[in-house]
């Protein structure tokens, strides 16, 4: 179980979620931020922090095509190599040390709002 960041984050990227996350598991792409589903402890602090109301629990995505898409896309951000990367990010165990990653998944890179 994990929380997921949806389309409202794209280009808004307020980053309050990063401040609120107690396990530093929210990673900064180019146009959007992404929650590492393995490192997330499901506390929900980010959901309350987000002024864009972009964050939802993955368990609520079922039956909602857009939310299911962003849930899968968020997992892919960590499990598939990103543009310019040879290896997937995996589970780095902390976003702050990594800094801004600066690139996004294919879905988010090509997103037109």
């Amino acid at each position: 179980m994990t929380y997921v960041i949806g389309k409202e984050c794209i280009d808004a990227q307020d980053r309050s979620c990063i401040d609120a996350c107690p396990v530093d598991c929210i990673y900064e792409g180019g146009r959007k931020t992404y929650i590492n589903p393995t490192e997330c402890i499901d506390c929900g602090a980010c959901e309350l922090a987000c002024p864009e109301v972009a964050i939802f629990p993955a368990r609520k995505a079922r039956g909602n095509a857009e939310w299911e898409m962003f849930t899968a896309d968020q997992a892919a951000f960590f499990s598939e190599p990103l543009p310019g990367h040879d290896e997937p990010l995996g589970d780095p165990g902390g976003a702050e040390a990594l800094g801004v990653i600066g690139v996004d998944t294919e879905l988010v890179t090509g997103w037109r709002g």
């Binding site: 307020d14 401040d19 402890i41 506390c43 929900g44 002024p51």
Partner: protein, 347 residues
Amino acid sequence: MSDSLLDVVVVGAGPAGLFATYYAGFRGLSVALVDAQSEAGGQITALYPGKVIHDVAGFPAVTGSTLVAGLVSQAKEYSPRLLFDTDVTGIEGLDGGAFSVLTSGRGALSTRTIVLATGVGGIHPRLLPIGHEWHGRGVVYVVTDVAAHTDHDVVVVGGGDSALDWALALRPYARSVTIVHRRRAFRAHAALIARAEREGVRLLTEAEIEAVDGDHRVRHVVVRREGGELLDLPADTIVGALGLLSAPTPFPDWGVEVRQRKAVVNSRMETSVPGIFAVGDASTYDGKVALIATGFGEAATAVNNAALHIDPAQSLMPGHSTDEELAPPTLRTGQLPVVAVGGRPIT
């Protein structure tokens, strides 16, 4: 602390650890509960005291703080030793299979068994990226005594409720209070922000501390605002209110096998070290579901197996808590005193 040998040391006073503490007392075991925080509740108290929880058996809806209050009074029933503000710094094996739990400031606790209920790890304030080197010389992360900041120029760094709470608590004492927040908008509740504005707290958004200066203590901060403008502010106190960060418990240092930073346990909730058990978010096994509800069951399983570890002649089954006494007649009708949201019993 006396050096008598305890039966159980529970590490971590979240819901699983509090229930394990109660349960150890109920089984007639001597028990100490150790937690790094100053109050009980673990993640619930630190992250969501006001959230309503719907999946604790017997409570259709209960706030985190009400649940913790109930767990604490239950845990205290058999007078355990409660050691708050105490870090566990190490665990060492003793001759004869007992353990020594090393703590900060409370010496070593000798015990026959240990229940690790350390959750997602120790929870600590997130450190200031710039200025932390002044910690103890004007930089604080917890305000323990507001009056100690009388006539200070105070700078609070952060944008959540705790930043606003501390700014408002210090405002009547301080000469000035400025909140510096790096984002465009505050995460804090709108009512708190409105009150801060009304009470003359200066709010700087899209602003970050660029430098901290002083002599034997902090005197000034330089704040960089969006667009590059630099502000030099007098500051006697800087309050870091950047939220909390958890750090994984160093299980490998204690000889406990881990998978994804959690202690691997068997169906007795026992780790790779006989006599050391793990419950709740600290533990993992095939089919694990990390919930408060399952943590309670894990705590009971761990403590009953700990009793067996201490004395193999004991029964694994404790008997039922209902054996102890018949409920008073007023409670025999099925009208249980359900504790409602807000903490008052429904009568």
